[in-house]
């Protein structure tokens, strides 16, 4: 079962300079909520920003990670 800390570490490893806060939304280990600030988001649409984060997890989204609710911000 994925843990919030694991998700946070993987996002931050994939997007150098990013900071992520991840919480288990329901306590069930499959619905997560994340706020991600990354320098890579600069100049991208929201769709593209979210795709970058979803891309970290590939097919796990919709599988073991049932839902990952995202808020993205451009890191200064």
């Amino acid at each position: 079962m994925p843990q919030p800390d694991e998700l946070k570490a993987r996002i931050e490893a994939s997007l150098p300079g990013a900071t992520a806060e991840v919480e288990d939304w329901t306590g069930g280990g499959d619905h997560f909520r994340a706020t991600v600030a990354a320098p890579q988001f600069a100049g991208l649409s929201r769709i593209a920003q979210h795709r970058l984060v979803y891309g970290v997890f590939g097919a796990e989204i919709g599988g073991p990670i049932h839902a990952l609710s995202l808020t993205t911000k451009i890191a200064e």
């Binding site: 929201r46 979210h50 979803y54 989204i61 839902a67 990952l68 609710s69």
Partner: protein, 132 residues
């Protein structure tokens, strides 16, 4: 045309409907909180939209995500472009961008264009509930 009738039907539905929402359940009875939130935002703006329930056949979701490169449901498309899922739609609703994207900024003006009804023949694999 691809070799998948379902992919063609999904692509066709996106192309033929100005505003179309793929969701779990129906607008009257969403089967997931994220879908419910997105429906609520569209309804709050009184936006006309077509709706497709992805639950009856898992291939609908599979083909949809292959087309959109977006992993989760719901997915809102306007004029053939993915606007976003539940988070983005909610954020755009709050900032007022959603009504602009939907073309609703001047509701008191000229009548809306004639709805594109008659979306799919009865044998289509998708049930599109047209709310235009």
């Amino acid at each position: 045309m691809s070799d998948s009738p379902i992919r063609d039907a999904v692509a066709g539905a996106i192309a033929e409907n100005h505003t179309i929402l793929f969701l779990k359940g129906t607008p009257e009875a969403p089967a997931c909180g994220f879908s419910a939130r997105t429906v609520a935002a569209l309804q709050a703006l009184e936006a006309p939209f077509a709706a497709v329930d992805v639950l009856p056949d898992p291939r609908i979701r599979q083909e949809l995500s292959a087309i959109s490169q977006w992993p989760t449901i719901p997915q809102l498309f306007v004029e053939g472009e993915l606007v976003g899922g539940a988070d983005i739609v909610a954020e755009m609703y709050e900032t007022g961008e959603l009504s602009t994207v939907l073309g609703l900024e001047a509701p008191e003006e000229a009548p809306v264009e004639a709805p594109a009804a008659e979306v799919e023949p009865a044998a289509a694999p998708l049930q599109i509930e047209n709310r235009l």
